[in-house]
């Protein structure tokens, strides 16, 4: 099978990544907007195109457990979930990371209940940021496919041995068709050799206890530090692997992606598919003479602190557009970026905006509002408190809905 170019949704691109990675085992559980991934894989398995065992579990909690346990036994394992499902299985995220297994899981982002919704924001995936899973966030369907291949190489590297979450936005990416290059199988095999664990497995000739209890802080701390250090090592290993990926497939994925950032005085930081909207807004602002660029966060765990510092060095103001809300504080990524640059001698003004919750559009006027605020902050040296983006039209529509719902005030 040579390389092909097809119109694929984010979900089918994910399925293609899994197919090319020659996965042995998929424990699954349906949830919108992820289900298309496991349905596509189920069809391929049924048609005999993939030599993979798939089992539908009784919950995401069981699904992540089975996936981690299979990975600990020595097979290449994949699974996928979204939103409520990720939270339902949350306990097991920390557990399987502690098992040091190279599981790859796709999360299709979707806002968290209540109120219940289907459309995306990143409270789901960011809730897992401290779990020990590495995280790769994707803007395009091509990126989804490629990231799955990169994720297996990274997760299975003896220096890392940690699970990885590959993230894409529900609907906006999961159900949007884009042209995707499907790599040649032989090229993928060159990039991603078969998984044969030397560290952990279950077999009769060599009994092994995995995931066992510890007594005492020093032992517990030792293992937690090990997970953290292995994850941090991921920065260097990611770069090696990503270079190799570029050599074989011709596509380059840095830890962060800069768009028009080279000479930028202002930088907008975003992640995932809404970055495409941000890039369009940046391009329009450039036409108006504003020297602005966009920085897209791609590798979120480990956090590429040095790359971030370099990317925003010398600019006047940075705005972080969080597509999530840390209730009682503000955006989740804003403080991460703040802490990364706090000790720099010269640092830009740093502004915080929250938008795109539950798939809410981020309009041209909202981007312009952000840009105006950045310019003003750079001029005055005062940064406004975190701002919640909402347009007047949206407000008026909401007023009408409240009336219909019977609220008088």
């Amino acid at each position: 099978m040579g390389k092909m170019r097809e119109m694929l949704t984010g979900n089918s691109a994910a399925a293609w990544g899994v197919r090319l990675a020659e996965i042995d085992y998929i424990p699954a559980y349906p949830i919108t907007p992820q289900t298309e991934i496991i349905e596509t894989l189920a069809k391929w398995i049924s048609d005999g195109v993939m030599d993979t065992r798939m089992v539908t579990m009784d919950s995401e909690h069981s699904m992540i457990t089975a996936a981690g346990a299979a990975s600990a036994t020595g097979v290449r394992t994949f699974t996928a979930t979204s939103s409520q499902g990720l939270l339902y299985g949350f306990e097991m995220l920390y557990t399987v990371a502690g098992w040091r297994v190279p599981l790859v899981m796709v999360n299709v982002s979707r806002g968290l209940s209540a109120p219940i919704t289907l459309e995306p924001d990143h409270n789901d995936i960011l809730s897992a940021r401290d779990s020990g899973f590495l995280q790769i966030h994707c803007e395009t369907c091509q990126e989804v496919l490629d990231s799955i291949l990169i994720a297996y190489r990274l997760a299975e590297d003896e220096r890392i041995l940690l699970p990885i979450l590959v993230n894409m936005d529900g609907f906006h990416l999961s159900f949007t068709r884009e042209p995707v290059e499907i790599p040649d199988m032989e090229d993928v095999r060159r990039f991603l050799p078969p998984y044969s664990p030397k560290h952990a497995f279950f077999k009769a000739s060599q009994p092994m206890a995995q995931g066992i209890a510890v007594l005492g802080g020093p032992i517990y701390s030792y293992f937690k530090y090990q997970i953290h250090l292995a994850c941090m090592k991921g920065l260097e290993v990611y770069k090696e692997i990503s270079k190799e990926f570029e050599n074989i497939f011709g596509r380059r994925y840095d830890t962060l992606e800069g768009y028009m950032t080279d000479d930028a005085e202002y930088i907008l930081i975003m992640s995932n598919s809404f970055s495409t909207l941000g890039k369009a807004a940046v391009k329009r602002a450039r036409e108006r003479g504003i020297k602005i660029g966009l920085l897209k966060l791609r590798l979120l765990r480990p956090f590429p602190e040095e790359d971030l510092k370099n990317a925003i060095k010398g600019c006047k103001a940075v705005a972080v557009l969080d597509q999530n809300i840390g209730i009682g504080k503000g955006g989740i990524l804003y403080p991460e970026i703040t802490s990364a640059i706090y000790n720099e001698q010269k640092r830009p003004m740093l502004l915080s905006f929250i938008g795109g919750l539950g798939g809410k559009n981020i309009s041209e006027s909202e981007f312009d509002f952000i840009f105006d605020n950045m310019i003003k902050a750079a001029e005055t040296g005062n940064a406004p408190p975190p701002q919640l983006l909402y347009t007047e039209t949206e407000w008026n529509e909401m007023e009408k809905l409240k009336k219909m719902a019977g609220r008088r005030y």
Binding site: Y25, S62, T65, T73, V75, G211
Partner: protein
């Protein structure tokens, strides 16, 4: 299938579970597990759920000659699914020799089996997973200090159902019938076992071996700290539970139930209750006659339905 053993002397002397665990003195569950593993042999991987036995393997030690995976409280059967499927895949694809195969054994207490892990167990049974399940049932959340679980019997005192002025009985609910819940899935093999009856226990495991699919065991396991009993008497209480008819030793093959050990003459349940601290409030300061009678009636009713 091997010929059934007739005496405890016929049970292998080899120990798979070695001494030196931090389990409480007189732990009925540990004794049960020791017998179970003699029947299962060395080539097993135990998939454990949160409970007392989580503390059997503590880094860097394990008392088992076999492998071990600790999961979490609700999902040991799901862990077993992952391990079983992975072993099957590795053997089928020629990446592991069939001599490396392992029996996958879920090990949980009653809190996991009756309550938090019931859904994941149901899933594994429904999917006909080829595994063993040993539930050490001490009739409460023992590892946290003995609180009410779905397995707690009527009138037992627990940390969360303490007898008092308004509720002198203690626990008001009846023990959940896990045997029947599991049996409704029609697993190939399902049995109750007792550490006081190792021959019956051993033969059940040996019989179960011939079946592919879920092989399930519920062991009533005396718990000296929770039951407030003398550690040296654990086997006596396990035996009394059978002799009074409170714990029926039985098996169900593809759903068909057969009792494997019926006492010739049932002892009164009072004999079982009165020596246990968890039932002491039924006897003093005031004897709760009606409650004791109700327990006896429930036991009588059970055996009447069986046809004894």
């Amino acid at each position: 299938m091997d010929t059934p053993v007739k005496s405890i002397k016929d049970i292998p002397l080899d120990e798979i579970l070695l001494p030196g665990t931090p389990a409480c003195a007189g732990c009925g569950g540990l004794l049960t597990l020791r017998h179970c593993l003699k029947a299962l042999g060395e080539n097993t991987v135990i998939v454990n759920a949160a409970g007392c036995f989580t503390l059997l393997s503590i880094y860097p030690f394990t008392p088992f000659m076999s492998s071990w995976l600790y999961t979490a409280m609700a999902c040991a059967p799901a862990g077993a699914q992952g391990v079983r499927d992975a072993l099957d895949i590795l053997i089928k694809k020629g990446r592991l020799g069939s001599e490396e195969d392992l029996k996958v054994v879920v090990l949980t207490g009653d809190g996991a089996a009756y309550d938090i892990g019931l859904a994941s167990t149901s899933g594994a049974l429904y999917r006909n997973l080829d595994f063993y399940y040993i539930c050490y049932d001490n009739e409460a959340y023992g590892n946290t200090g003995f609180q009410w679980s779905g397995a707690t019997p009527f009138a037992s005192k627990t940390g969360t159902t303490p007898p008092g002025k308004t509720v002198p009985t203690g626990t008001l609910t009846n023990k959940k019938n896990l045997f029947e819940i599991w049996r409704s899935h029609k697993p190939p093999y399902l049995a109750t076992i007792s550490p006081a009856h190792p021959v019956d226990l051993y033969n059940k495991f040996k019989k179960a071996e011939q079946y592919k699919g879920p092989k399930l065991f519920i062991a009533l396991s005396p718990c000296p700290p929770g039951w407030a009993t003398d550690p040296s008497h654990s086997v006596n209480f396990a035996k009394l539970a059978v002799d009074t008819g409170i714990w029926a030793l039985k098996e169900a093959i593809l759903g068909d139930v057969k009792h494997t050990l019926i006492p010739r003459k049932f002892k009164p349940v009072e004999n079982y209750l009165k020596e246990q601290g968890r039932f002491a409030h039924l006897f003093k300061p005031i004897r709760q006659e009606e409650t004791i009678r109700k327990i006896q009636e429930m036991v009588d009713e059970y055996w009447k339905e069986v046809g004894i």
